[in-house]
């Protein structure tokens, strides 16, 4: 499904990803953890196609195609979805109108007929129930004035409507209360199919109680420095990152990355 090979990326001349490798097979759930500033969101944005992030080396294959050659909208239509860490507010753009436009773009791309306003509305209502989002949000501009938790749930709601093949969730759990966390996890799990994959960026084990990952990776200094099963997340929760970082530094004595920003 997704194969990232030796990915290097920088923003404003600052190197952030420094040789990242990752392989996700259809049906798998991968979690990425790592200290603040280690490059998790950068990876997510690069995959979604944000052009401020310049890829200087490496490649990304998505279903055998070169993902980096595609425009952001083409990636989305091909089934890549990023739930943003910080969803932007878009005053003046009605939520329903926006989502219908996005939905129909994806359908057009798949060669399916566009849905009319009525059919779309009933689809949307059904998905909203799962996330227990108040329907009034649909009549408001995209994310405008939404609470932090509503923004996050709205991302997952959009995901539920668009039914992506590869969903990337960037700290969707941050800022959610326990009930919302459960709802979001349910929404994500509903999407789970043998041909879909999920990449979940998180700082907390608690989300992974609901969405059980097949693999857990630790991203640090722009690379994956450790990969394990779901047990790794439990270990990190208990012991923090220090032991891992020490292990990493012992292996690569030439580089001494600063610990600033690591929790």
């Amino acid at each position: 499904m997704l194969e990232i090979k030796n990915l290097h990326a920088q923003v404003e001349g600052k190197k952030i990803l420094k040789g990242l490798d990752l392989r996700i097979q259809p049906g798998e759930v991968h979690a990425i953890m790592g200290p603040n500033g280690s490059g998790k969101s950068t990876l997510a944005q690069v995959l979604a196609g944000r052009n401020e992030y310049e890829v200087t080396e490496g490649e990304v294959l998505y279903n055998g195609h070169n993902l980096l050659d595609l425009e952001p909208e083409e990636r989305a239509r091909e089934g890549v979805f990023l739930a943003f860490q910080y969803p932007v507010e878009i005053p003046g753009v009605n939520s329903t109108y926006f989502l219908k436009a996005a939905f129909n773009e994806v359908r057009k791309h798949r060669g399916e007929p566009e849905l009319d306003a009525l059919d779309f509305l009933s689809l949307v209502k059904e998905k909203m129930k799962v996330l227990e989002l108040p329907q009034s949000l649909l009549n408001r501009p995209v994310n405008e004035g939404f609470s932090g938790g509503e923004k996050k749930r709205n991302e997952i709601f959009q995901m539920a409507v668009l039914e992506p093949k590869l969903a990337i969730l960037d700290e969707t759990d941050s800022g959610l209360d326990i009930d919302a966390l459960r709802l979001v996890a349910e929404g994500v799990n509903k999407l789970k199919r043998p041909d879909n994959s999920q990449l979940i960026i998180t700082h907390y084990q608690r989300l992974l109680d609901y969405i059980v990952p097949d693999f857990v990776h630790v991203l640090y200094d722009g690379k994956i420095i450790k990969t394990g099963g779901k047990q790794l997340a439990l270990d990190l929760e208990e012991r923090g990152y220090d032991w891992l970082l020490e292990e990493y530094r012992a292996q690569t004595p030439s580089q001494q990355p600063s610990l600033a920003g690591a929790r």
Binding site: E73, A76, I90, V93, F98, P141, L162
Partner: protein, 448 residues
């Protein structure tokens, strides 16, 4: 009051076409006009002769050169018959309203709604109202708009003849919007109208009034309109002004509002047409507890120039004013926004907020934006902010990341920027119709 600076201007030639037009009107009206109206016109003419057309040396007109207007061969447009079907394509043309139609400045009985009268409201053609010496018209007309300060107001006052006089009776809530439609049909350069509107909202009344200015052809016509709004205690009024004349037309419009205790005024100014369009909105909050909201949207392209000068006078304590203006400029168009907020020494606990945001869609478009705060009270809250820029790239990316193409995303955001103002209009059919215009303008697929 601030003292008036020495104002450089072009003295108006007494033999020019503008003076000739006044002389003509005066002699034609000599026998029929009531004396008080003749006196008003005379005073207007005296001010106009003294002030003359402003030049760009004038503080208020620095970026708007009205020399092309001063040079117009001004004249009254020839009479032309207009069919009802020609009005239907105009914005608000088919909306259920009390419609009052003016063709080239003349009131049209046949095109106006026949059942004008709800028991809560009186609507007259200004000409009829003046000739029958209606007391409230005589009392208020010309008492608010400043003919002594603004040459175009002076000119309008000297030439005022037709327009509307509207009285919302005390404690009446008029549900149906009142629509004043001013149509210019002439393709003759200099065909001029000076529409004059007086709106009196009596105590505790409530109404919605639309004014729209349209052209049927693309002549270099001149519309020089003045609206005076008098708001008595606890009255509520929503006033929506739409300027959609041809891009060859010249348009100057002034709205002057005088608010009494606890009154609530919402004004919207949407300006899209005109070669040169200048709109002045001047509310005076002259008693405690007034609210005033001023929304505006200007959308221009090509060689258009659009200029909004707003001046809100906080004269008494505990009044709120909120102003939101958005501009979208394309081509080589020029925009001007000047937002004055005066807070007099008396006006403690004033809460005034002003925002002007502009989107420049091309390299050739320019905007001059300037807040002007003159605050003489100490316990006040005044904020202002102006932005000029392109679309927010983060928002473009968010839409693209959901599958919406780059161009479509940009168009959607420009439309949204306009909607942000349109959505502040409370009259739903007005909002829907204006939003459709913005949609057609920005979002409809254009064949490349």
């Amino acid at each position: 009051m601030t003292t008036r600076p020495l104002i450089p201007s072009v003295p108006t030639r007494t033999d020019g076409p503008f003076s000739a037009a006044y002389a003509q009107l005066e002699s034609r009206e000599q026998a029929v006009a009531p004396a008080w109206l003749t006196a008003l016109r005379r005073a207007g003419n005296a001010h106009f002769c003294e002030l003359g057309f402003p030049t760009t040396d004038h503080e208020e007109w620095r970026f708007t050169n009205v020399a092309p207007i001063a040079a117009l061969p001004t004249h009254s447009p020839e009479k032309r018959e207009v069919d009802r079907s020609e009005l239907e394509r105009f914005t608000f043309g088919q909306m259920p309203t009390y419609r009052v139609v003016f063709i080239d400045g003349s009131f049209s009985t046949t095109l106006s709604s026949s059942e004008l009268l709800d028991e809560g409201v009186e609507i007259h053609s200004l000409k009829t109202a003046a000739q029958s010496n209606l007391g409230w018209v005589q009392k208020h007309l010309g008492q608010y708009a400043r003919a002594d300060e603004n040459a175009f107001v002076a000119l309008n006052t000297s030439m005022m003849e037709e327009g509307a006089a509207i009285r919302i009776k005390a404690n009446q809530h008029v549900k149906t919007p009142i629509h004043l439609l001013f149509v210019s049909t002439s393709n003759q350069a200099g065909a001029t109208t000076h529409p004059r509107v007086l709106i009196v909202a009596e105590r505790g009344s409530e109404a919605r009034i639309l004014e729209s200015y349209e052209s049927l052809t693309d002549g270099s016509t001149l519309t020089n309109a003045v609206t005076e709004i008098v708001m008595e205690e606890a009255s509520h009024l929503e006033h929506c002004r739409l300027q959609q004349e041809s891009t060859s037309a010249y348009h100057v419009g002034t709205v002057h509002a005088h608010q009494s205790r606890s009154s609530n005024l919402i004004t919207h100014s949407i300006s899209m047409g005109g070669r040169i369009a200048r709109v002045n909105i001047n509310p005076v909050l002259d008693a405690e507890g007034c609210e005033c909201v001023m929304n505006g949207l200007y959308v221009v392209d090509g060689d258009q120039l659009v200029d909004h000068h707003t001046a809100i006078h906080h004269a008494k304590p505990r009044c709120n004013s909120h102003e939101f203006y958005h501009g979208i400029l394309d081509g080589n168009s020029q925009g001007v926004f000047n937002g004055k907020i005066f807070v007099r020494p008396d006006a403690q606990k004033t809460d005034a907020k002003q925002t002007n945001r502009n989107l420049l869609l091309s390299d050739g478009a320019t905007i001059q934006t300037k807040p002007q705060l003159e605050i003489f009270a100490d316990d006040v809250k005044c904020t202002h902010g102006a932005t000029v820029g392109q679309l927010q790239e983060e928002a473009v990316f968010y839409l693209r990341a959901r599958g919406i193409g780059k161009e479509a995303a940009r168009r959607m955001l420009v439309h949204a920027f306009a909607s942000d103002i349109i959505n502040r209009i409370s009259i739903e059919p007005v909002r829907v119709e204006l939003d459709q215009i913005m949609f057609d303008l920005f979002e409809r697929e254009r064949s490349a």
